[in-house]
Symmetry: C2
Subunit: 340 residues, 2 copies
């Protein structure tokens, strides 16, 4: 029997919250790299909330994953065989290999990692798509000014922790929201947030709003939006005039969860009356800024001025469970899968 | 009996659509201007959709009008008596006199009109708050580029017609939406829109969307939002990636009208997936730009490159009926009341 590679496929589309039944393990013959192609053994793969959107059939910024096709996503790994002049066996690379033990892609679709980038998993988190999302959204659309107040959810996640630390470095008051007392302590103690609220302690929007109001005595100037749902509803009335909302995700609403008390007219009215500027963005369309991000944030990470946190599941077969847990906030830090 | 002035008061708050019963005529003694104050006989007063918001008790960008207090609004008129060095009888001025035959305000709250500004009613429309709203919103938040497509509702109104004509002058394809075939013909023939759709001909969102799609073959890059409701719902799916929405009003939603099929998560998702930039703004906070507006648009009006249209009701007593009619789209240009 020829050598095999392993993958996780989308077995069926979720209705509401996804479950293990929506995924299927699969093996297939190891691909043979063609002209200009490179065969890579994956070392770490990334699990990200946006993947939930790709499982649904509805319009998104990229076509949905077909039922029966491999789950998509980014990973880092080591080149095994190369038919491309720029890559040699042993090189560390990043590419969209999907949820798989190996990837075989044209060299033009791979990025070589600098040998100094250690651990290589950083290319999936703090120095990868999530960190870059936080940096770009904060600067391009949040337009932070010293003395202002910023709120961000999923505060210990790879986007939220980057946003909070960068905003703190820019002289803002930074308030996080996270699930559970442990994460909140981490946000304050490790990431330097001024305060972090446990949303589980405030079941009702009004209670969350009152708690936010206490820790944001001057109102909220920037709400970095990656959640939607209850947090958005609590934040809106506290936004200051001419506040900014960079909008990169809405994990609370990906499942079509029961809708809050917020209607479309309510949302529109708040944006008008408070003169808010809300900008949706998809980081994949801003990679021209990636070098500037690396130049600014790379040294901050190296010097320890910016910290990062990883949550590593072991083995491809555990990717679906780790993904489901992450969607419910079970991770603390950037969720990765280590491929063994 | 001393000389009297006349006013229209807010008699009660509307529930849903306002009606004549919400207004009451009142007379009171003619005010005697104090130190630095100026007494003005109003000639034209402005009726604007934003006034509907002020009748409601809910939070807005200014406090609501108290029940029993005069309706608020801008007007132009002639100075009768002045205790302020900058004003003399006979001067034409603009001020927030409310719905009233006369106004008595500190000179610091009045703007003198240039004698060249003829008719003086221009200061309430094309060269006043509505024209300025269109200019500022289009340029600051719409960021128009030649070759793009813009959609605006209330196309023959003072905001919509300014937006459309400025966008046309900037090289955009301009599509209006208005109520009735006559207004649509006017938008195309007088204001130079490329197309104008009669929203009354499309009762369902899907029909309006299909019609818009035909007249916007390259999608929509800028939606200048002054309506909300059905038009917003039809426009959203047609927005191009990285489209812009300047948001200055939502007349269709001021009454808390039955909400469309659009939920808050739908709206948020469209903004994320299409990477839209939506900016709410209140023109009163941008008057530092007013001189630049006058400098650019004044000559365009004088030369006939930009046209304007006024709809004039006669007599203060007819202001409430004209206002109610305007809220239902009964006017065809800037709605004014001539005070006799």
């Amino acid at each position: 029997m020829s050598e095999q590679m392993h993958r996780i496929l989308l077995a069926s589309r979720p209705e509401g919250a996804p479950s293990l039944e929506n995924f299927r393990h699969d093996s297939c013959p190891m691909p043979d790299p063609g002209t200009d192609e490179v065969l890579v053994k994956a070392e770490y793969m990334s699990l990200d909330p946006y993947m939930r959107g790709r499982m649904s059939p509805s319009e998104s910024y990229v076509p949905p994953i077909e039922v029966g096709a491999p789950m998509q996503g980014g990973a880092v790994g080591e080149v095994l065989r190369s038919n491309h002049a720029d890559f040699a066996p042993g090189d560390k690379v990043y590419g969209m290999f999907g949820w798989a033990s190996h990837g075989c892609l044209p060299g033009s679709e791979l990025q070589k990692l600098a040998p100094a980038l250690q651990p290589s998993s950083l290319a999936l988190g703090a120095l990868g798509m999530p960190g870059f999302t936080g940096w770009h959204g904060l600067h391009a659309y949040g337009r932070p000014k010293a003395g202002e107040t910023l709120v961000v959810g999923a505060a210990t996640g790879p986007v939220g922790s980057m946003v909070g630390q960068l905003a703190k470095a820019a002289g803002l008051r930074v308030v996080g929201v996270a699930g559970g007392a442990e994460k909140c302590a981490l946000a304050v103690e490790s990431f330097g947030f001024d305060a972090c609220l446990d949303h589980r302690a405030y079941a009702q929007v009004d209670a969350l709003k009152a708690a936010l109001s206490e820790v944001c005595p001057k109102g909220i100037d920037i709400y970095f939006e990656n959640l939607g749902g209850k947090l958005l509803e609590a934040v809106l009335p506290l936004m200051n005039p001419m506040g900014r909302i960079p909008l990169c995700g809405m994990i609370a609403w990906y499942d079509g969860s029961p809708v809050s008390g917020l209607s479309a007219p309510d949302l529109w009215r708040a944006m008008l009356v408070k003169q808010l500027s809300v900008t949706g963005f998809i980081i994949a369309n801003h990679f021209d800024q990636y070098p500037a991000f690396l130049e600014e944030v790379g040294p901050m990470l190296a010097s320890g001025k910016i910290r990062f946190l990883e949550d590593v599941a072991e083995g491809l077969e555990n990717a679906p469970a780790a993904f489901l847990s992450m969607l419910k906030g079970g991770n603390t830090g950037k969720q990765l899968v280590k491929l063994t």
